[in-house]
Symmetry: D2
Subunit: 279 residues, 4 copies
């Protein structure tokens, strides 16, 4: 059966749901599920609406919706269902492998257009899935130079999202600015604990009983962007720093996959430095 | 700030959200959160709407909403915020204690109007919280007689909900019929596993690695009513049947408290033999 | 640093730990971790001991340990570290993929010697990892005939364990007898709930709030063998039977991988119809 | 049946388990479970041994064990089964209530000898359980003076452990020194995240998806003592800072109760700034 997905962000105002629902009804669509949220801190309204039925002209429908909403409203009708994602990696395989396997068996819900690594470690694995792998080394060149080539390579694929799947280089604000709200990172700790390097060594030294991971959008402030998903695994005193790293990899993989899945189903909105997740 | 809570159940139809939102807008209310669900198996529509703003006449508003909906729609505007619950117990204290402590510190969100036990074991504890305790013994009398007195005692308090907090007598369909959709039980297993008696002995014998609990509405079929909440705890081979019972008590308590909290916040709807939980 | 792993099962008796520890000390080994358990129901003693230091003759050491223990004691010193596992599949990929990816990146801790499918669906994927795939179809032949070929194909690899990674044929007691204590299955529910076919349809119909999975050794009684690991994921009323199946796949994969990991690290003992897991 | 519990801490050396097991065997005791751990960072050996059978003289048995171990070994045979705990509170009730209810129903496994508050808020509740409540106000006096009275009041009961159940005053190193290794705190976050005040406000501002709590021994460094137990609850964008506080209270209560239970069963050892938990 035909479905129409509507995404809306705008300034909050009285009667928004009614206005939206009226336009939807005019188009003879039936609301199947509607999730909405008002962020009082920023006075913004967010909605994700699934309607039964199709529209002949998405443009016209979008226009009608926008007319009924406060100025500056962002309206998306039927955003591309099959997003393209570029994956950036270094040497660790666990997150990339999970993404590629799901892509291969059509359960990722997205196209992996390319994998870019600053080492060749994961080239062979990537190519087994007929996905192009590009080596962009950071060695022997300036950061600016490195990021320019990185951007050039990625840009050629016009991806909807760029996923840092254990990409171990810190990206500059200039690079980040190319993919604002579209750059996803998996951080190896339950943020904001253990910011910075060697989190498992830190966790081991501190004697924690839980190991976490955090998927977040990347902003100019390292490790400070909007959090999309977090989870933990239990550990105990018998875990070495290396055991914690292994437990950490399992949770990193699970959290990144969950975040990607939420994003490509258009369930995540950004408001200020937080996310709204219509899970 | 004033808030108006609206609960709706009706036959599904095109444009329901629009019709509801229009009535809401006519009353100058602003929708803060709206959750709705269409159960396709039964073709029913369910909604829970929180609006900013108050209404001068809830009756009139209810009437207007009902007018805009399919025949037979059930509409509730501002259901009583402070529900009254009667708690039925036998000898085990863990669930009752959690309920009474929350009641005492005003974090239950409901009034505990009475505790009824078929033994006196929990009388002293109950009365420490100034809650009336009634002994209704099942001994030396017919089941019919026992249940009649039980009903008489409970009925005098006109409770909104009756909670079986480890009440170890099986209730007849006649008794259940007095409290249809208002009778909540905590079952000592992850239903539908280990239906019946001695679930921890069964779990121990089977060598399970998880112990669960299930809160559900009671219907005529024992252990088969709509499930409200479930959870589990991990166990291992070192657990005796008694250790599993102890772990089970923790999860029973947590699950029952969660279910009560969802119910008294009007977040639970029943459809067929399932629940819709707008958590 | 050298390590010596000792596994012991025997009839329980007074002073077993002392006797074992004395032999260990005679060999100038230092106990790093020792886990032991007495199953009172069967009056059996189980121990897993990790020692710092090596032994020149494992046979002699084994003999000395056996001498110090009750008659019929089973003693294993340094069981093969790199187990060989054969994986049986039908059409579903999620469990196999997780196993093969870990094998490929040397994080499985075991060799996957072959994959055998009763359909060709997973042949291409398997061969991308240079693992041999064998098609043994059940179609157009007797069960006996089918299982004989299955056994012949598997037997040629002399695997330590056979893993049923969503293998959808019920195996006969004759087949099971070839791999007693070495045949691992992933069951698509939180056993003992939803025994039998279509568990997600059953779970959906029952309106459960949790979806589980169970890894267990296979015995003659279908779904009744010793449980190795179990876990759950939360679901809610918005999940269709298909959504529950998807959630179920995630938990099946995680539980099977955990069970395999425990087994190949020699952490699992079978006693009666239960497991002892020195996790 | 008689059981003998043995706790040991000492410098690590070759053959410790053998030496211990020999002494145990000399006393005709049978080891039921033995947990041991060597902390390589500090080169210390820790063991918790449950034996079937009793000893006529615990002193003699302790002496014999000590003789067989490296100099300076700490050996405890049958530590007092019913520990006494003093509970310090401010105004929040959730942790105290859980402790008192378990004490009342004999499921805490410890005696609550007294509750001390720096406000009177929890006096009435405490006294309903026949537990003495002492008000020691911090107002209008020096910190030194306040802590001296606190210590005097607590000391009169000679408690084995002092539990800070949401006690909102920072204690000085002098006070802490009276109860080294016996002073337990519940921290309102998943340490080391959100150190300091107003963690729920911090968590809300940061937009986290999990809320945690940490039970730890108190040392001179605030929030930096050895962690005993940690856990988390999931939250989402709809949670206000107040909702996060409510979720936090549930996890605080559960984590503190778990930590107390581990401690009074003599399952927790301190090594450096970490704990070993034989759970």
């Amino acid at each position: 059966m035909d479905q129409t997905l509507v995404l809306i962000q705008c300034r909050d105002a009285v009667g928004l749901v009614s206005r939206i629902a009226q336009v939807v009804a005019q188009y003879a669509l039936n609301i199947v599920t509607m999730r909405e949220y008002v962020d009082e801190a920023t006075d913004r309204f967010f909605a994700r609406i699934v309607c039964a039925g199709g529209v002949s002209s998405a443009d016209e429908f979008t226009h009608e919706l926008r007319q009924s909403l406060p100025e500056g409203a962002m309206v998306q009708v039927n955003p591309p269902a099959l997003k393209k994602i570029a994956v950036l990696v270094t040497k660790e395989s666990h997150c990339l492998a999970d993404i590629l396997v799901r892509y291969f068996f059509h359960t990722l819900g997205a196209d992996v257009c390319c994998v870019v690594g600053n080492y060749e470690a994961l080239k062979d694995f990537t190519e087994r899935f007929q996905v192009p792998f590009h080596l962009v080394s950071h060695e022997g060149r300036s950061k600016d130079d490195f990021e320019k080539e990185l951007h050039r390579v990625i840009h050629a694929y016009s991806p909807d999202y760029v996923v840092l799947a254990k990409f171990m280089r810190i990206l500059s604000p200039v690079f980040v600015s190319h993919y604002r709200g579209r750059l996803v990172n998996i951080h190896h700790s339950f943020l904001p604990a253990f910011i910075g390097a060697n989190p498992y060594r830190q966790a081991y030294t501190r004697g924690v009983k839980l190991i976490g991971a955090t998927a977040h959008f990347v902003t100019d402030d390292l490790d400070e962007g909007p959090i999309i998903a977090q989870d933990i695994r239990q550990v105990d005193h018998t875990y070495t720093a290396e055991d914690m790293r292994k437990a950490g990899k399992e949770v990193e993989k699970a959290v990144l996959t969950k975040a990607i899945s939420l994003i490509i189903e258009d369930r995540v909105f950004i408001t200020g430095n937080k996310t709204i997740v219509f899970g």
